[in-house]
Each structure stands twice: as structure tokens, then as C-alpha cells.
């Protein structure tokens, strides 16, 4: 199983169309499911993608526009019909916590699971999740309403112990963990074997950043620096450059400029306006700037690697 997979459930913009659903995706990490934005229809899209709702642990909402969060009341109500137990945390701005809590209280007064609301700040810089293997942090975006992006970072992994060297130097099993974490090995005779002779570098830590809706601003590259996969909105192509700025959205080229400046591994474009019949133009314009670009689409599951 891949360690980190992004499931695209919706990658359209404000007005739903027959081609794209409103914003919603699921980050699957070692069997844990975390939803990022929750547009109308999210519960049905999960079912369609074969993702079990009761495995959701967190829902991160980037901002309180309807196309990014109106799937919440239905999803949270239906989950309650499933008698799931467990805990689910919705991370959103205080207004959203208040409003969706009220909706859930009305539509699902007897919840079968522990629903928590975590009030987040539009300023970014918060750590929303910190497990032994992964952190989820926020960074500010620039949209018409307060808006944050989310960054998923695997923590540094252990180095690989070289079996031949471990045997040659007679490393006892109880010391192996420490050596994988970087310690040198001191032999009974006092000789110190440096770590680099005993281990190989760790697997790279994977990272994913999600930029839902934002005006282009170059400093965004700092927030998403070196991510393995960058999802960036590309509501428009360059034919609507001025409209993008007016509406605090980006073009595909601008998303590519951010990816290039951030030294991202791969760029995934989404949040497409319904004004386009396809996204060939977005793709071509972005690839001219950042070749490793892909288009999001409903049903796409992409391994982060």
C-alpha cells in the first residue's frame, strides 16, 4: 500500500457543473482518512470512491464558501446513522464551527460518534495534527474571505541499518533502534564506528500541500517549499488573467510559477471554472512553466511519491 494517497472527489469551482463537483478530497495516510474541504455531495463521492466514511478522523475546511463546506451537514448526519463510534474532528474557522455544530445538533441530535470542532485561525501557522509520523499545519492564502491552505508533512524517518555492517561489528539488537535514529556504535573495546558506516539514508519524507482558493502571490512559494505534491487551484487559464485577479483566484500559469519557485515535486491543478469545456489549455500553459504538472479529476487517486 502506498503511504500517502490523494483521492480527488471534487475539483470544480463555485458553480457545480456536469463535469466537476465542488471541492473535496481525501488524504489517505497509512490507513487514516482525512478530508480536505467538503463540498456538497461529499458523502456520495466517498461511497462512489469506495472510501468508508467511518474511517475519517479529520475534516479540514480551507474557507467558508459554500462550495468548500456544504457537504458537511449531510456527511456528519449520515455518519451518525452508521453507529460508528470513534472520533471525528472538523477543523474550521469559528463561524463555521458555530454554524455546522448548530446544523448537526438539529439534524442528528443523537450522534453515534464523538464529533469535535477545532476552531482554527485564518492567520495560518497552526499545527492541527501531530502524530508520531505526520503533521498537518496551516498557512494563509489570499481570497475574498479568510482562507488557509494545509500542509501534510511526514516526519523524518529512521535510517536503514546495513545488515552486513551490523553483523560485521556485532551490533546487539537492543542498540539497533538508536543506530537507525543516527547514533554511532561504540564497540566493547572502545572503538567508535560512525553511524554513516552502519546505515543508509532514510526514505524521503513525503509531503503534500493544498491551496484551495487564492490570488497569486509569490510569497506563497515559501509556505509550500519542497513539497512532494502541490495541489494548487487553477480556476482560470491565461485568457482570464484579469478575471482571476478580480475574483482572488489563480490561473494555471500562476500555479506553475508557485510550484517552480517552491521546488515542488509535482503540481496538481484543480478548482476549474465551469467556463471551460476541458482543461487542456490549463495543462499546456502550466507545463510550459513547470513540466511536472497534472490535472485533477473526480475519481483520480494519486500516490504521493
Amino acid at each position: 500500500m502506498d503511504q500517502m494517497t490523494i483521492h480527488i472527489l471534487g475539483c470544480g469551482s463555485a458553480t457545480p457543473s456536469l463535469r466537476h463537483l465542488p471541492a473535496c478530497q481525501v488524504v489517505e495516510y497509512r490507513g487514516r482518512l482525512m478530508m480536505v474541504d467538503c463540498g456538497e455531495g461529499a458523502q456520495l463521492s466517498m461511497r462512489r470512491a469506495g472510501l468508508q466514511m467511518h474511517r475519517l478522523t479529520d475534516i479540514f475546511i480551507s474557507h467558508l464558501h459554500g462550495d468548500h463546506c456544504l457537504g458537511l451537514p449531510g456527511l456528519l448526519s449520515t455518519l451518525s446513522l452508521q453507529q460508528t463510534g470513534g472520533t471525528l474532528t472538523v477543523h474550521t474557522f469559528p463561524d463555521g464551527c458555530r454554524m455546522f455544530r448548530q446544523m448537526v445538533d438539529f439534524f442528528a441530535p443523537r450522534l453515534s460518534y464523538d464529533l469535535r470542532f477545532n476552531e482554527i485561525s485564518p492567520k495560518g501557522g497552526e499545527t492541527l495534527l501531530d502524530t508520531p509520523a505526520l503533521t498537518v499545519t496551516t498557512f494563509p492564502l489570499r481570497h475574498r474571505v479568510p482562507c488557509v491552505g494545509f500542509r501534510f508533512d511526514e516526519k523524518p524517518k529512521e535510517r536503514h541499518l546495513r545488515g552486513d555492517a551490523a553483523n560485521f561489528h556485532g551490533i546487539p539488537p537492543y542498540l539497533r533502534r538508536a543506530i537507525k535514529q543516527g547514533a554511532d556504535f561504540t564497540k566493547p573495546d572502545g572503538t567508535v564506528i560512525p553511524n554513516e558506516l552502519l546505515t543508509l539514508p532514510p526514505d524521503p519524507s513525503l509531503s503534500y500541500a493544498y491551496c484551495s482558493d487564492t490570488l497569486y502571490f509569490p510569497a506563497l512559494a515559501d509556505a509550500v517549499r519542497d513539497v512532494t505534491l502541490l495541489y494548487h487551484e487553477a480556476t482560470y487559464a491565461d485568457d482570464n488573467l484579469s478575471k482571476a485577479a478580480e475574483r482572488f483566484h489563480s490561473t494555471a500559469s500562476q500555479a506553475a510559477m508557485i510550484a517552480r519557485a517552491a521546488s515542488a515535486g509535482t503540481l496538481l491543478l484543480g478548482h476549474f471554472s465551469k467556463a471551460y469545456n476541458n482543461e487542456n489549455r490549463h495543462l499546456a500553459e502550466a507545463r510550459a512553466i513547470f513540466p511536472s504538472t497534472l490535472l485533477a479529476n473526480e475519481g483520480l487517486s494519486l500516490s504521493v511519491r
Copy 2:
């Protein structure tokens, strides 16, 4: 064009499945679109069915369970992006008016149309719409929460003036309207020609009744007496007779008993539980009691005749 058409956009029950969407339908009457219940995804289903949202004049909500109304915030917000103008009235219980007004105020603070909320009573017996050609009235259902059904009735139509008789008796044009409405004709010499010699009976008035979620209770037949088309929930088949009663739902047989007792023209079954892989059993059990029974399905457009 048919005068009255029912478009089924969703005919599943509480938990959405891959087979059925939550409750939603559109009654089209002489170009006017009226929505009945508005489950999550309603706006997308309208688009899929080729029904233009800006033609909606009324949305009738039978009760405040999520699967009957959680499509409202998205639909009302999207409508605002379309710069439609016009007036749309949402008819629902006071709690729903309050809650959805608040959602719309938050998600679409600058509406481009006149959105009205009409507080209805769970007791039924109200006239929600009264146009020159049509009335929409409510009647009480028995569910776990307050719930009403809706009845659409065409007003009596004009009689057909017989052209041959009109010519023979020399009826002047300015009297024709009165005669179509039932008046006799008095000739210049004082002879009275009775209306029945001058006209043929009017076309029958069409009617449609919608019973969203209800326990079986025989008195319901009085409320839906003589309707041309009866939509009645059939969440379960007879294999779940006791579960139906526990949950204040009906079986297909019970729906058929109501249709028979009411002398309905045709029965349309819906609100199917996701526990069934198909509704063959519902159909067979209902037809054994009321032969003129059909199954609802997403995408079905049915003329009332």
C-alpha cells in the same frame, strides 16, 4: 407540452446510496417549476435533468430531516451566482425558515433574487399557492417529526364550446366565455338554449399528491382522494413490515392500500431503503393490491394524465 409533469430527481431514503439520491422532485406545470423536497445534490440533479434553476418559483419542504432539505443551502447559494432576478419562495416549518435563512445570509449575503420563506404549519390544511389555474395545499402525515404532504390541484377548466351549435344558434363572440363557464344562451327572441346543448364537458382537472415519509394510517386516503397521480413513500417491502411501523414509514403494500382507498389514478412508489438491491418486490406487492403502480427512479419524468 404536457400540462403537468413530475420529474424525479431523488427517491432514496435517509442514507444515500449508489442507486438512489435523497428525496427531491420537480413538479412542472405550464412552464412553472416547483420543487418538492430538496435533498443534498438537488442543484446538480436539476442540471442533469435539464431543468433551469432560475425557473423555480417555489420549494415545498415536507419535513426537516436532512435527506429532505440539505440541498437547500447549495441550491439557494448557486442560484444567487446566476443573477436571476425573480422571486423564489421556500415553504417550510418555522425552524427550517430560521435555519436556512441563516445559512443563506452567511453563504450568499448578496442575493440576486427575491428569496422568501413561508412558514407552514405541521397541521396541514393550508393553501400555499393559489393561481388562476392551480392550488397547492398541505395535509398532515405521521412521521417521527412534524411532516406534511402536498397536493397539487388544477382548478376546474372551462367547458368546450361546440362550434356547430355556436354557429347554428348565432352565439356572438362576447358571450362565448360565459357559455364555456356554464351559462345558458338566451336568443334575441327569448328562447333559452341550455348550456348542455352548446358545450361538451371540460377536460378533467389533473391532480398530484406527494406523501414523503409516513406511517400507514387509513385516514390518509381522505386527504389524497381521487388524485390523478399519487406519490407515496414505500421505504420497505412487506418483509420489513414491523420495522416500517417502528420507524414511522410505510411498505409498498400499505402505499397501495392508500391508493386503492383513495381511488387514485396511478400510484408512484419512492423513498426506497438502501437495504434493497432493487424494488421488484415493492412493485409486485403493491400491484397485487393496486395494479396501476409504478416505481420512481432518478431521471424519470412522468406526465400526470
